[in-house]
C-alpha cells in the first residue's frame, strides 16, 4: 500500500510542532512587552490640558513649593488640585494678558471649574493615601519622577501593583529624610553627595534607609487590605 503522505511531510510536521512552541512563546513575550510598554501603561504620555501648565517653570525655575498648590498632600489621601483662586493669586498680577491663561481667567470670571485631565490615575479599587507616604519620608519625586524638569506633566511610573510593591517590600531603598520630601532635586546619598542625618553621615542609600525605617517606624505593609477594600 502506497504511503499517503510524502516523506517531506515529516519535516513540515516537525517544523510546525517546534515552530508552534516558539510562536506561542514569542506571542507571550510580545504581549508582555506590550503590557509593559509606555503605549499601554501610558507612562511618559503627555496629556492635553486646558492650560499648558509647566511644572518645570513653576516648581523648578521659580522654586514654588509643591504644597503651595497641592495643599492637602500632608492631610488627606488626595494631594489636591489648586482651585482657580490659587492660580489667580499670582496671575491677577503677572501675565495678566497672556492668551495662554485665558481659560484660567474665564474660570475665575464665570465661576466654572477648570477640568484638568488626570495624569496619575489608579483604578477605583486601589486606595492610595498621599499623607501617610509624605509623613513617612517618601518624596514626591520618588513616585512622580523629575517633576521639576517636566515642561508638560506626564506619568513617570507604570503605577502597576508590582511597581508599588517594589517599594513596599523594600522601603529602605526609597526613603529620604522628612525634611527633603518636597525637594524636587533631591538625590539619594552617594560619595559625591553624602547625607547628614541625625548627626551621622551616610554615603549609601541602603545604609541610610535601614536607619530611617527604624527612626520613622516605617512598616513594610503588604496586606491586601492596605490598598484594596
Amino acid at each position: 500500500m502506497a504511503q499517503i503522505f510524502h516523506r517531506s511531510t515529516n519535516l513540515i510536521s516537525r517544523a510546525s510542532i517546534f515552530g508552534g512552541v516558539v510562536i506561542v512563546g514569542a506571542l507571550a513575550c510580545a504581549l508582555y512587552a506590550i503590557a509593559m510598554s509606555p503605549w499601554y501603561t501610558e507612562q511618559n504620555l503627555v496629556r492635553q490640558q486646558p492650560v499648558p501648565f509647566s511644572h518645570r517653570h513653576h516648581a523648578g525655575e521659580l522654586g514654588i513649593d509643591c504644597r503651595y498648590c497641592h495643599t492637602s498632600v500632608e492631610k488627606s489621601s488626595f494631594a489636591g488640585l489648586p482651585p482657580t483662586e490659587t492660580c489667580m493669586s499670582c496671575h491677577s498680577q503677572i501675565w495678566t494678558n497672556a492668551s495662554m491663561l485665558e481659560p484660567v481667567r474665564a474660570s475665575y470670571r464665570d465661576n466654572t471649574s477648570l477640568a484638568w485631565t488626570r495624569v496619575n490615575a489608579l483604578p477605583d479599587f486601589v486606595y492610595f493615601d498621599h499623607s501617610i507616604h509624605v509623613a513617612k519620608g517618601i518624596g514626591c519625586t520618588t513616585c512622580h519622577g523629575p517633576v521639576a524638569d517636566m515642561t508638560l506633566t506626564y506619568r513617570a511610573g507604570t503605577l502597576y501593583m508590582s511597581w508599588c510593591l517594589e517599594c513596599h517590600r523594600q522601603p529602605e531603598k526609597y526613603v529620604r529624610p522628612k525634611s527633603e520630601v518636597f525637594d524636587p532635586y533631591y538625590q539619594p546619598p552617594s560619595h559625591a553627595s553624602p547625607l547628614t542625618f541625625e548627626g551621622k553621615t551616610y554615603t549609601d542609600q541602603l545604609e541610610f534607609g535601614r536607619v530611617a525605617i527604624k527612626e520613622y517606624k516605617i512598616q513594610s505593609l503588604q496586606n491586601c487590605s492596605t490598598c484594596h477594600r
Binding site: 496629556r47 482651585p83 483662586e85 471649574s113
Partner: protein
C-alpha cells in the same frame, strides 16, 4: 431517617409540637421549617447558596454551556487588556476653607420621626451626605441610631422623589405657585374662612409659631393634625390619668423591674433609641455574678422586639391586655373594676405584683401605643401607686405645639370637607389618602375641597388628587427645628442644597404670613433670635447650637402631676373576648418601613424584620395554634374581612404570637410609592377604621385557595451545627449550641458556663504554622445580653459598605447581601418560646477555612488578623463561601449594584469599592475605618487609641452590644470583655479561632415563676 421529610415542603404543626415535646425544651431552633425538616430548609442548611430553580433560560444545553465556557476562558485574559479610562479632575474655583478633598466633614442635625427629633452627625464627602451617625451630645441619641435614621440618607438620593412643582398634573414652577398662593391669601382675607391646614405632628417651635401667626391673621382658618403612628393613645392616656396631656419621660436605667403592657419601647415610640441604651445598661454583666440585672416582664400579642428581650413573656391577645392591666392594677393597690376572663398561668400575676411591690420606686410600667388610653392611664396609676413617679418616670408638658387627639382632628376635617366648607386645603406632609382610617373615605372627602395643595417627598396617592404638589425638602436639605423625646430642641440644618425644586414646610407657610421673601434659614434663626433675651449673645448661642446639634436649656422642665382617680372606675371599654374563638385584628407600624413613609427605601424593604425575618412584604401574622385551628399554613393566601371591609394577604405563622389574634403591619400595598415601594405586600389600612385604629374584634379569615410566596431569610444561612454524619459526633452535637445561655442563678453557680471544655481544641492542631500577631490584632466582642435585635447594625453596615439591594426574588433564593445578619433562635415550645438574638458578622477566623480554598488568592490573611477580601482579584469560584461554616460570605450573582442611576452615586461611601457582578464580598471589620485611624495615628506618631476605631455596626448600636478593638492591648475594652467568663466562640471545635466572640446571655427570671 429523615429521607422522607427531605422531599416534603409542608409543615405538620402537630408533628412539630410532638417533636419539641420529646426534646424537653432544651433545643434551639430558628424556624418552624427547621423543626419540620422541610426540603427547602435542608437545601438552605446544606448549601450556602442553594441551587434554586433559576428562571429557565430557554434552549440552553450542555454543548452551549461548554462553548460558552471555552469562549469565556479565552476572553478572561483579554479583560485585563483595557486601558484605564481618562478621568477629569475638577477643582473648585474658590475652595471653601474647611473642605479638604478626601476628608469627610461631620455636621450636626436632627432627624424627624413622627414629629420628634433625634440628633445625628452626618458624614459629608465634598458636600455630599453619605452616612448618618448618632450625636453623642443629643439626649435622644447618645451617639446611637436606628434603622430609619440610617436609611434616611438613601431617601435623599431616591430617584423616585418628586422633583418638580406640579399643577393639575403638569410641571409648573415655584414662582407660579407663590403667585397662586398670593391670590389665595388675598381671596381668603380677612378672616380665612374655609382655609384648612393639615400637618403631621408638630413639635417644631418655629413651625408652631408660624402656624400661630397664620391662625392669628386668619382667625377662621383651622389647623388639623394627623399622624398614623403618633402618640394618640399615650397622649389621651395621660389626659385620662392626670386631666391634662403630658409627656412621659422614662428612665429605664433606674428601673429594676419593668413591665411592658404591649409596649414595644425597643422598636418604636418616642425616645426609643435612648431607651434601648438605658435598658441595655442594666443588662451589663461587667461586675460578674454580682451585677444588678433588671427584670423585664412583657405582655404582648405579637412577639415584639421587646417581648423577645423579656425574662417572662406572656402572649395575650391585644384586647386581653386591658384585662391583665386591670388585674395587675388591683394587685398593686390601684382601685379599678377588674373584668376577669383572662386566664393567666399559675401565679404569674401574683409573683409579678410581689416583684413590683418589692421594688417600690424602682419599677416601671409602660403601655404600648396599640393599647387604648385607658391602659395607659392604668399604667400611670400603677406607677404612682408604686412610687415610681419622679424616679423611673417623670412628666413634662407635651412635646406637641398643639396636643390634640389626631384621629378626632382628622374626623373634624373630613366632616368640614364633606359639608363643603373647605375652600382651600393645605396638606403639609403626610399621605392621608393612603393612611387615613378607612371609614373616613378621605379621598372622596378631599375632592370636595375647592383648592388642594400637597407637599411631600413623593408624588404619592395624596399628591395625585391635589391641584398643586410641591416637592418637599428632605431634612438633609432644609432648615428647621425639632423637639426630642424630652423636649430638647435640635436644629435641623441642611447638608446639601435641595437636589430638585424642593421647599420646606416653613417656606410654604411663610407665603401666608407675609414672610414669603425669607429663606428657611432666616425663618428658623429669626424665631430663635426673637426668643433670646440678649441680642449681643445670640450669635454665639446660635453657632454653638448648630455645632453641637442641641440647643442648651431647651429641655422641657419636669412637672408635677396629680392623678385623676375617677378614670379607674370606668367600665371595660369593650366586651371581653376571653374564651371565644373570635379573631381580633391588631395593626402595628411595620418594623422596617413604619407607616409606609419609607416604602420606597430599598435598604429598609430588604431588611429582615425582627422575629419573622420577612423582607419586602407584610403578612397576616398568626400563632401556630390558631393556624392549626383554622387549618392554615404559611403562605396560604387568605381574604381578611373586618367590619365589612376586605383585604387579601398571605398567612405567616409566628412562634409565640398570641392565639386568636392576627397582626397586620401597616405601610405596604402602596399604589404610588415609587419603583421600589409600589407593589409589595397588601394594604392593611383598608381594614383600619377610626373606631378600631389599633385593635378590632370580629375579623374573619377565608382561604382563597391560592398561595403566596414570602422572601423570608429566617431559614437561610442556617449554621449547620451537626456538620458531620450523626453517628460521628452525636455526643457533642448539643454542646455546639450557637447560643449559650444561663439563668442568673446558674451563672452565679458556674460563671464559666459558656466555655465548654469539649469544644476546646489543641491550638497546634493545624496544618499551617501558628502565627504570632505583633502590633494590632483586631477583634470584636458581641454581648448577647445587651443586643435587642433592633437591626440598626445591619442598615448601618449597608450604608457604610455600599451594600447592594437585590430584590424580593433574589432574597428568596438566599442571595441577600447583608454582611451582618441578626440570627434569631427560639427555645421551648411553639406557643411561647424564649427568643435569642445573635448578630453575626464575619468571624475573621485566625484559621480561616475560606482562605485555604481560594484558587486565586483573593481572600488572604492580614498581619493584623483580618480576613482580607480583594474584590479585584476574585474570579467568583465561590469555593470560599462553600467552605465558610458561618455562612457570612455574599456573592454578586448579578450586577446588583446600581451603576446607572446618577442620583444613587451620591449615597456611596467613596472609601469602599462598589462591587461588580461575579465577585464575592463580606464583612471586613470596616477596614476603611481601620486604615484611616491607623494613618491618622502614624502621622501623629502614636498608636491607635482604644475606641478610636468604631465599626459601622458598633457605632450605630443603641445597646452598645458590639465592641471592637485591639485584643493585643489587655487594657482595651474588647480585651476586657473577652476576658469575661461569659466569652465564647462559635463552632470553636473546628479550630477556626474566630476573632469575633460572644458574651453569653444571662436571663434573670423570677424564681417564683415556673414557665
Amino acid at each position: 431517617m429523615n429521607e422522607e421529610h427531605k422531599t416534603n415542603n409542608s409543615v405538620d404543626l402537630a408533628a412539630v409540637r410532638a417533636k419539641l415535646a420529646r426534646e424537653d425544651g432544651k433545643r434551639f431552633w430558628q424556624s418552624i421549617e427547621e423543626l419540620a425538616d422541610t426540603k427547602d430548609f435542608r437545601n438552605f442548611l446544606e448549601n450556602e447558596f442553594p441551587a434554586g430553580p433559576e428562571k429557565a433560560s430557554d434552549g440552553i444545553n450542555r454543548r452551549d454551556v461548554l462553548k460558552l465556557m471555552a469562549a469565556s476562558a479565552a476572553l478572561t485574559g483579554l479583560s485585563a487588556c483595557t486601558k484605564l479610562p481618562t478621568e477629569k479632575i475638577v477643582p473648585y474655583v474658590r475652595q471653601p476653607e474647611e473642605i479638604i478633598p478626601g476628608k469627610p466633614l461631620f455636621y450636626a442635625t436632627s432627624v424627624p420621626q413622627a414629629g420628634v427629633g433625634t440628633g445625628v452627625l452626618v458624614e459629608s464627602h465634598m458636600g455630599r451626605p453619605t452616612k448618618i451617625e448618632g450625636n453623642p451630645e443629643h439626649p435622644g441619641s447618645l451617639g446611637a441610631t436606628d434603622v430609619f435614621m440610617q436609611a434616611s440618607v438613601l431617601t435623599l438620593y431616591d430617584p423616585d422623589r418628586s422633583q418638580a412643582v406640579i399643577f393639575d398634573g403638569h410641571v409648573s414652577s415655584w414662582s407660579d405657585f407663590t403667585a397662586a398662593m398670593d391670590n389665595q391669601r388675598i381671596g381668603l382675607a380677612p378672616r380665612g374662612a374655609g382655609m384648612r391646614i393639615l400637618t403631621k405632628t408638630v413639635t417644631s417651635p418655629t413651625l408652631a409659631a408660624q402656624l400661630k401667626k397664620l391662625l392669628a391673621q386668619f382667625p377662621e382658618a383651622k389647623w388639623h393634625q394627623y399622624e398614623v403612628c403618633g402618640a394618640d393613645s399615650e397622649r389621651e392616656g395621660t389626659r385620662l390619668a392626670f386631666g391634662k396631656p403630658v409627656n412621659p419621660v422614662y428612665h429605664f436605667d433606674r428601673a429594676d423591674v419593668i413591665v411592658s403592657l404591649d409596649a414595644d419601647f425597643i422598636a418604636s415610640g418616642r425616645g426609643h433609641v435612648r431607651y434601648i441604651r438605658e435598658f441595655s445598661s442594666r443588662r451589663n454583666l461587667a461586675a460578674g455574678p454580682a451585677s444588678n440585672l433588671n427584670r423585664l416582664y412583657v405582655v404582648d400579642s405579637m412577639t415584639t422586639s421587646t417581648g423577645a428581650m423579656a425574662d417572662h413573656r406572656l402572649p395575650l391577645s391585644a384586647a386581653a391586655v386591658e384585662d391583665f392591666a386591670r388585674q395587675l392594677a388591683t394587685a398593686v393597690g390601684v382601685k379599678v373594676a377588674p373584668v376577669g376572663g383572662v386566664e393567666l398561668p399559675g401565679d404569674w400575676l401574683g409573683a409579678l405584683a410581689r416583684d413590683l411591690m418589692h421594688h417600690h420606686g424602682s419599677s416601671l410600667i409602660v403601655a404600648g401605643e396599640q393599647q387604648p388610653p385607658f391602659v395607659h392611664a392604668l399604667a400611670h396609676a400603677m406607677n404612682a401607686a408604686l412610687g415610681n413617679i419622679g424616679k423611673t418616670v417623670e412628666y413634662t408638658d407635651p412635646l406637641e405645639a398643639n396636643p390634640v387627639n389626631q384621629i378626632e382632628s382628622l374626623r373634624e376635617l373630613v366632616s368640614d370637607l364633606n359639608s363643603g366648607q373647605v375652600e382651600f386645603l393645605l396638606i403639609l406632609g403626610g399621605n392621608p389618602v393612603y393612611d387615613a382610617p378607612a371609614d373616613f373615605n378621605f379621598a372622596d372627602a378631599l375632592m370636595k375641597a375647592k383648592l388642594r395643595v400637597h407637599t411631600g417627598l413623593y408624588n404619592d396617592e395624596t399628591a395625585e388628587l391635589c391641584h398643586w404638589h410641591i416637592p418637599a425638602a428632605h431634612y438633609l436639605e432644609s432648615w428647621g427645628d425639632l423637639r426630642a423625646y424630652d423636649g430638647t430642641v435640635g436644629i435641623v440644618q441642611p447638608l446639601i442644597a435641595p437636589l430638585y425644586d424642593n421647599h420646606s414646610q416653613h417656606e410654604i407657610l411663610a407665603l401666608f404670613t407675609g414672610d414669603g421673601d425669607k429663606s428657611g434659614h432666616d425663618l428658623v434663626r429669626d424665631y430663635w433670635q426673637s426668643q433670646w433675651p440678649k441680642k449681643e449673645t445670640f450669635e454665639a448661642y446660635w453657632e454653638t447650637s448648630l455645632h453641637d446639634g442641641v440647643m442648651v436649656g431647651t429641655a422641657l422642665p419636669m412637672i408635677p402631676v396629680s392623678s385623676n382617680a375617677d378614670f379607674a372606675s370606668q367600665a371595660a371599654s369593650r366586651a371581653v373576648s376571653g374564651g371565644t374563638n373570635a379573631l381580633e385584628v391588631v395593626f402595628r407600624p411595620d418594623p422596617s418601613i413604619g407607616d409606609g413613609e419609607f416604602a420606597n427605601n430599598g435598604w429598609l424593604q430588604e431588611l429582615p424584620k425582627p422575629i419573622t425575618h420577612l423582607t419586602w412584604d407584610n403578612a397576616a401574622l398568626i400563632s401556630p395554634a390558631t393556624a392549626q385551628r383554622l387549618g392554615l399554613a404559611r403562605g396560604d393566601y387568605v381574604k381578611l374581612r373586618f367590619d365589612s371591609r376586605e383585604a387579601q394577604a398571605g398567612v405567616f405563622i409566628v412562634p409565640g404570637h398570641a392565639d386568636n389574634s392576627v397582626t397586620l403591619h401597616l405601610g405596604y400595598g402602596r399604589s404610588r410609592a415609587g419603583k421600589v415601594g409600589t407593589g409589595p405586600g397588601f394594604n392593611a389600612y383598608l381594614l383600619r377604621t377610626s373606631g378600631s385604629p389599633w385593635i378590632g374584634q370580629g375579623l374573619s379569615i377565608e382561604k382563597t385557595g391560592k398561595t403566596y410566596s414570602f422572601a423570608c431569610t429566617q431559614q437561610q444561612n442556617t449554621i449547620d451545627v451537626e456538620g458531620h454524619p450523626a453517628d460521628e459526633e452525636t455526643a457533642n452535637a448539643d454542646r455546639r449550641d450557637l447560643v449559650q445561655i444561663a439563668t442568673l442563678e446558674e451563672f452565679k453557680k458556674n460563671p464559666a458556663f459558656a466555655q465548654i471544655p469539649e469544644t476546646q481544641v489543641d491550638r497546634d492542631l493545624t496544618l499551617y504554622p501558628n502565627v504570632k500577631y505583633e502590633g494590632y490584632a483586631w477583634g470584636m466582642s458581641i454581648d448577647l445580653n445587651r443586643c435587642v435585635g433592633c437591626n440598626a447594625c445591619v442598615v448601618a453596615c449597608v450604608a457604610e459598605n455600599n451594600i447592594a439591594v437585590v430584590g424580593k426574588d433574589q432574597v428568596e433564593r438566599g442571595r441577600a447581601m447583608h454582611w451582618i445578619r441578626v440570627d434569631t433562635y427560639f427555645r421551648g415550645g411553639l406557643d411561647n418560646p424564649e427568643v435569642y438574638y445573635e448578630p453575626l458578622p464575619c468571624m475573621q477566623c485566625e484559621n480561616a477555612p475560606c482562605e485555604y480554598v481560594c484558587p486565586v488568592g483573593a481572600t488572604t490573611h492580614s498581619s493584623e488578623g483580618l480576613n482580607d477580601m480583594t474584590y479585584n482579584r476574585c474570579v467568583g469560584t465561590r469555593y470560599c463561601s462553600n467552605n465558610c461554616p458561618y455562612k457570612v460570605r455574599r456573592f454578586n450573582f448579578y450586577l446588583f449594584s446600581d451603576y446607572t442611576t446618577p442620583s444613587l452615586y451620591g449615597v456611596r461611601n467613596p472609601n469602599v469599592t462598589v462591587r461588580s457582578r461575579g465577585v464575592m464580598e463580606k464583612c471586613t471589620y470596616c477596614v476603611q475605618r481601620i486604615n484611616a485611624a491607623k494613618i491618622r495615628s502614624e502621622e501623629e506618631n502614636r498608636t491607635v487609641r482604644d475606641g478610636e476605631i468604631q465599626t459601622a455596626c458598633q457605632q450605630a448600636c443603641p445597646a452598645e452590644a458590639i465592641i471592637f478593638g485591639n485584643i493585643n492591648d489587655p487594657n482595651s475594652r474588647v480585651a476586657k470583655l473577652k476576658a469575661q467568663s461569659r466569652d465564647y466562640g462559635l463552632l470553636e471545635d473546628l479550630n477556626t479561632r474566630p476573632r469575633t466572640t460572644y458574651l453569653a446571655r444571662v436571663r434573670n427570671p423570677n424564681p417564683e415563676i415556673r414557665d
